[in-house]
Structures are given as C-alpha cells and as structure tokens.
C-alpha cells in the first residue's frame, strides 16, 4: 500500500475492477478480497438462519403445545412430492458444487453448464411446489383465517384447466412463467438478429431455466396422481366429500382427552377447596382454574364438548406455518435463481480464474443453505407421524 495512485483515478473510482485483475481498489490482494467475501457470505448465512428461526420457533411451539393438530394436518401433505423436491434440490446442490469446482479451476464453460442445470432444478422445484399449492387451494386448505375444508373447488373452470384437467390455481400460477418463457425466447431471437450472440445465448439459457418450471409441473402432476392411491388423502374429491367425517374422528380423540382433563380439573378443584394448603402450588392453581367459567355462570364440564372449530382453527394454524415456511423458502429459491443468472452471465464472459472465483463460491454457499433449510423443512412438515 505504498504511495497511492495519482489523484486522477478518483473520478472513476467506483469502477471497482480498475486493476483489470478483479481486485477492488481497497483490497491489497486477491486473498484478502476472497477472505472478506467469504466471511461476509458466512455472516449473511447466519442472518438467514436467524431470519428463518422465527418460523422454526412458531413451528416448535405449536407442535409442542398442539401435537394432535400436527398429526391430523400432515395427512394433507404428500410426502412423496416432498421427497421428490428434496431430491431435485439435492441434485441442484451437487451441480452447484460442481460449478464451484469448475470456477475454481477456471473452466468457465463447464461452470456455465453446471449453473444452468442448477437453475433448471430450481425452477423444477418451484413447479412441483406450484402443483402442491394449487392442490391445497382446491381443497380449501389455506391460512388460518380462510381455512375451510368445506370450500372445494375441484373442477376447473378455465379453458386450459378444463382441457388439461388441471386446477385453475395451477393455471394461474403458470401465467407468469409462461410470459417469462415467451419473453426470453423472443428477446433471444431478437438479440440473435442484431448479432448480440452472447446475449442471445444468455436469454436462451434463461428460457431453458423457465421451462424447468413446466417440467416440474408435469412431473408433479404425474407424481401426485401416482401416489394418490397410496396416500389416499391427497385426492381432492375424496376429502371434499368427507371433511366432516375426518373432523368427527379427530373430535372423538380430542373430546376424550378433554373429558379426562376436565374431570381431573374438577377433582383437583374439589380437593383444593377442602385442602387449603393446595393453593400454595401456583401452577396447579392456574391449571385448575379452568373449572371456573369466566362469566361466573354455571356451565358444567360434564356436558362440555369441544367445538369442532377448535381443531379447524388449529389445523389452520399448522397451514399458516406451512405456507410461511415454504413460501419464504420459495422466495429464497427465486432470489437464488436471480443470483445464479448473474453468475451464468459472468461465466459466459469468462470471468472466473483460479485466483478469482469468489462470486460463484458465495452464491454456492447461499444455494447450499437454501438446500439445508429444505433438508429440515421436509421431515418437519411432511414426515409427521
């Protein structure tokens, strides 16, 4: 860091790559720059984990406090679709790791291919997710406030939906990707015409990426109808006809439990009334307070039946958490695709060298984290038994 460059470089100082060696002006060496970036991305991953932690807290609390709800709710989730998505994501992680390796060795062409495969896997993941979401929406499985199993929408009304026998919601979810796909293809063709070959290649790759979404949708539909018979629960019409039966069976369990508890409470309270020393136990006291109706009225416990809405309500909360977790994860996937697109462009430009591959490494770490979170989400949401 000897006497600094002459002052005339000040005007273009925001061009970080003015050495032509991809070392920003404020770093001394490639290694310092790489280490800074690496620590930076690890810290970013720390913030990501804490960002998701809020949802994991909500999940853990509702699961410990209402385990029965989770056992009921997971019936609505298709673990094979979840498993499929896990494998897709794991594969994308592999190709990402291979992409990082190629960049480290300065093999830009290989790197671009691996990144493209990663992006296609990412959109495939989203496609499968779209099948899953639209299927749930058909069944009226929404967040807590609009959770309503009696609301069903199994028959498509849109033209495309009717002809392909797919859900309306799925059709809606495909509109934006379809537009993107068309846009990229057209833009690619135009770029080709005006002799911007690199751009044309890039846009074509983006179109391929988006087509991965439709691949995901197709595989998702096939997978779902194949596993329907086995899980029995994911078929919309079956559920639509029997939601109350399902609820009734859960109610029985629930009310039994409640009866026991109520009896216990009552006994406890009787005991407490006769035994003043019992009141010293604070937590017991809070528990058996349940025996006192708030309005001071005479409601008796023996004829108390839990309202079906309790379970309805709590399953709704499970799906609130489900949508928050998977939705936030999906947003991260979309963010990852954008970052990967940027890497793809730079691979085409041949930027990666053995002493400069930081961005691929950083985005790779981010991508693996997204995978990591899914690795936990999968058993937490889909594999409840």
């Amino acid at each position: 860091m000897a006497v600094a460059d002459s002052h005339d470089t000040h005007d273009d100082h925001h061009d970080l790559y003015d050495h032509g060696e991809f070392i920003a002006h404020h770093f001394d060496s490639a290694e310092q720059q790489f280490d800074s970036g690496k620590l930076g991305i690890w810290l970013f991953l720390v913030t990501e984990i804490l960002f998701f932690s809020g949802l994991f807290v909500a999940y853990t609390l509702y699961r410990t406090n209402h385990p029965e709800v989770f056992e009921q709710a997971h019936v609505f989730l298709n673990k094979y679709l979840g498993g499929l998505n896990t494998i897709v994501l794991l594969f994308s992680s592999l190709t990402m790791a291979l992409g990082v390796r190629s960049a480290q060795l300065g093999r830009n062409k290989n790197c671009s291919v691996y990144i493209l495969i990663t992006m296609v896997c990412a959109t495939m993941f989203l496609g499968v997710k779209a099948v899953e979401y639209s299927h749930k929406w058909d069944m009226g499985i929404l967040v807590r406030s609009s959770f309503d199993l009696t609301y069903t929408h199994p028959t498509p009304t849109t033209e495309i939906g009717k002809s392909l026998h797919i859900s309306d919601y799925l059709v809606y979810l495909c509109i934006v990707p379809a537009l993107l796909f068309a846009g990229f293809v057209v833009a690619s063709a135009i770029s080709k015409l005006i002799n911007k070959n690199m751009l044309a290649k890039f846009l074509m790759a983006m179109a391929i990426t988006v087509s991965g979404y439709f691949l995901g949708v197709c595989i998702g539909i096939i997978f779902m109808s194949a596993t329907d018979a086995e899980t029995g629960s994911s078929h919309a019409s079956v559920i639509a006809e029997q939601p109350l039966m399902l609820l009734a069976s859960t109610q029985d369990d629930h009310s039994d439990g409640d009866h026991d508890e109520a009896d216990h409470d009552k006994a406890d309270h009787d005991k407490a009334a006769g035994d003043p020393s019992h009141d010293g136990e604070h937590s017991d006291n809070e528990e058996h307070f349940g025996a006192h109706p708030a309005d001071g009225g005479e409601a008796s416990f023996d004829d108390h039946h839990p309202d079906p809405s309790t379970l309805d309500r709590d399953i709704g909360i499970f799906f609130s958490i489900y949508y928050c977790m998977t939705g936030l994860h999906a947003i991260h996937i979309i963010g990852g695709i954008i970052a990967l697109g940027w890497l793809y462009w730079r691979s085409l430009l041949g930027h990666w060298r053995t002493d400069y591959f930081g961005p691929v490494d950083y985005v790779g770490l981010y991508w693996h984290l997204v995978d990591l979170i899914w690795i936990y989400l999968f058993p937490l949401l889909y594999l409840i038994d």
Binding site: K38, L43, T64, L90, A97, L98, S283, P379
Partner: protein, 124 residues
C-alpha cells in the same frame, strides 16, 4: 481430499468430483431412508415416539454432509465455521426460552378456550 495443486492460490481448494458424487448419493440414500422409515415406520415395529427423533437425526446427518463437503466447511477457516455454528446457539436459545415460557402458561390459554370458545364466532 481436495486436490491441491501448486499452480492454484492458497485459498483455492477444488473438491474432487468423486467426493462430490459420493456425498450426493449418500444424501439421496438418506432421503429415501427417511421417507421409508416414515412410511413404514410403524410397520417395522418402530415405536411412534422414535420416528420424529430419527427423522431429525437423519436430517442432521444430511445437513452435516452438505455443510462439510458441498459448502467446503471441512477446508474452511475455523473462524467462519465458528461464526456459522454460533448462529445455531442463538436459535436454540430463542426456541428454548420461548418454549419454556409458552409451555408454562399454556394451561391459562386452554382454560380460557374451554370457557369461551363456544361464544367466539370463528368463521368471522
């Protein structure tokens, strides 16, 4: 296991493709295992209370594989590893304290629900 060659700068550690594929197939195997134990769990005579911890153990092994090899943690600076893992400490703290608390006062919510839920118009 990283193939380090003299031409590469000190901070560049490409991981061999063999290892990457090995980890990938390990991960796939574990995924199939976890779905299988979940689907057949009770059929194999596994107690239900065992299923959830097992799924979490498998998930953690998978997470370890991804971290160590895909994320190069095995070769990374120990400070970076420490920074990353310390986040788990804080997540545990967050979950632990709130769980302890909500678990303690849950009875007051249940008592309230028993007395009042019938009056609440849930469909609102």
């Amino acid at each position: 296991m990283s193939e380090h060659n003299e031409d590469l700068p000190a901070f560049c550690h490409p991981v061999s493709t063999k290892l990457l594929f090995g980890v990938f197939f390990g991960l796939i195997g574990l995924t199939i295992l976890t779905v299988a134990t979940s689907a057949l769990g009770t059929g194999l005579g596994m107690p239900p209370a065992f299923a959830f911890p097992l799924a979490m153990v498998i998930a953690t092994i998978k997470a370890f594989l991804v971290c160590a090899f895909f994320m190069h943690m095995y070769w990374d600076k120990s400070f970076n590893v420490l920074a990353f893992l310390s986040s788990l400490l804080f997540v545990t703290l967050f979950i632990g304290m709130t769980m302890m608390d909500t678990g303690e006062y849950q009875p007051t919510i249940e008592a309230f629900d028993r007395n009042n839920l019938a009056n609440v118009d849930v469909s609102e």
